[in-house]
């Protein structure tokens, strides 16, 4: 049996480990070194340039646009999504069961099933200035003045993209929060009613504290999504990344710098910057969770 044990362990672990080391581990490890070089893709011609790439990132106005846009998304997207999802989930799980509650959950989850590319193409149509669903709908109800070139006006482009992110994520978090609210013992709500608490007070004092953990999970997930944004922007926006850099995101800068301009060392430096942003986010989230536990 002992020989069989080792043979089984080797057979179980080695293929996956080889795949992991070659295609996942080594690219990540190489990235940190490449970000310190001026590599342009020619084998053997990567000169070590120290932190040069990172210094240049600080002067790269398009990259700084991307950082600013990702930062805006990092603030707006989680708050808007979680606020809306919490509102809908608490409406769905009120004191009395809502007729059609399960049908709503089915429909809300639809966007979660669709790939971001489909969502991007679809919303590209919705936002189309002449024939899109949004403008023609506004015109149909006499609000012609509100019709806009949603993706072409610099002040509207990023909010329009963010609206799509929120649209596509809310359903998932309604389902997640509904499960958390459903797990709260009914007696707690009944006690709140007996104490004369209104809807809002019940939500603040009973529901919210008891779903806090799910909300934290949601913040982390949406934060990670907000640091990305690549697919929507690449497929939907003018340029892409436009107009005038107003929808540029770090992932798009990286992709273009590497695979259009061939500046692979410089592009990888953007990847390293993105990694540290994600790491900071994760550390903050862990801290926050620990504070909650000890508080």
């Amino acid at each position: 049996m002992r020989h069989g044990r080792w043979r089984f362990l080797l057979a179980a672990l080695v293929p996956a480990l080889v795949l992991h080391v070659v295609l996942v581990f080594s690219p990540y490890a190489q990235a940190f070194y490449l970000s310190l070089t001026d590599w342009t893709g020619v084998a053997g011609e990567a000169n070590f340039v120290g932190v040069d790439n990172f210094v240049r990132l600080g002067d790269d106005s398009l990259f700084l646009d991307a950082v600013r846009n990702n930062a805006v998304m990092l603030v707006v997207v989680p708050i808007a999504t979680i606020g809306l999802a919490l509102f809908l989930a608490s409406m769905l799980n009120g004191r009395r069961p809502l007729p059609g509650a399960s049908a709503y959950q089915i429909v809300y989850f639809f966007p979660q099933m669709l790939s971001l590319v489909i969502i991007a193409v679809l919303w590209g149509f919705v936002y189309n200035p002449n024939t899109g669903l949004l403008n023609s709908g506004l015109r149909a109800i006499g609000l012609d003045g509100l019709a806009r070139s949603w993706l072409a006006e610099p002040s509207l482009a990023l909010p329009s993209v963010m609206a799509v992110v929120v649209w596509s994520s809310v359903g998932f978090y309604v389902v997640l929060f509904s499960a958390a609210i459903g797990a709260i013992p009914k007696e707690l709500f009944e006690a709140a009613v007996l104490d004369g608490a209104g809807r809002w007070a019940t939500f603040r004092r009973v529901t919210l504290p008891l779903v806090a953990e799910s909300v934290q999970v949601a913040f982390v997930y949406l934060g990670i999504a907000a640091l990305d944004g690549f697919v929507l922007v690449q497929v939907m926006s003018v340029g892409p990344g436009g107009p005038d850099g107003t929808t540029e995101v770090v992932g798009l800068s990286l992709y273009r710098t590497a695979f259009t301009y061939g500046k692979f060392g410089y592009a990888t430096a953007m990847g390293v910057a993105l990694f540290f942003a994600a790491l900071t986010l994760a550390v903050l989230a862990l801290r926050w969770r620990r504070d909650e536990v000890t508080a």
Binding site: Q105, I106, S115, L227
Partner: protein, 274 residues
Amino acid sequence: MKSPRNPLPQLAMLAWAVVTALPLLWAVVSSLKTDQEILNEPWAPPSSLHFENWSRAWTAASIGRYFFNSLIVVGGALVLTMLLGSLVAYALARYQFRGNRAIYYTFVAAMFFPVFLALVPLFFVVRQLGLLGTYHGLILVYAAYAVPFTVFFLHAFFRTLPEEVAEAAVLDGCSHSAVFFRVMLPLARPGLVAVGIFNFLGLWNQYLLPLVLNPDPDRYVLAQGLAALSVSQGYRSDWSGLFAGLTIAMLPVLVAYVAFQRHIRAGMTAGAVR
């Protein structure tokens, strides 16, 4: 006596249902209209049902080809991911040996790195191996990036399974691999289904990896094909064809979802509440 129901919850739910469903419905309806109807009356239903838009999208716009490419790549990657992921998770969860923890963290750590960081070196590794733009290359890369979460999820799952069943099977003379395939895998089915659904959707929706690693238009996966189509059809202004392509890509997933919605929602949210 019941107090009258507050209408706010029902109204709020209905409003968001409309906001969610309307764009999807609009795309499906538009896919059955003529270009003229789409351009002139975006909200009106079609005068007659133009299913020929669908067949045009399927053949002339290559949606059919992209669909099969996706099926091959995602199918292959899913089988490989589940096989490797469950083997690694089981081996690490149920066997004690030196280096066990180190291997576990080597896999799991990958979940915390953004794929963008690996993108440039990965491109060159794949090119060096001669796998650029091939089905098997894409399958291997997809699987490599899906295995870490699969290991993480199933590792926890295999730990909860009772020790006694495996011991009894060993006493009955089962080999290690027979215990795994005949006893433990069937026991782990709920976990396998959940993570399998999660992986399928993740792989089916993959866009960044094929964009970089799969440059040959003949081998485009569905997501790539649709994105390319939305650019080229926009120029040729075959709007109905593009809506039809979109609908073909959307409908199977939504139908499958409605059929298995409970499982799917459980699988998807399981990823978050681990």
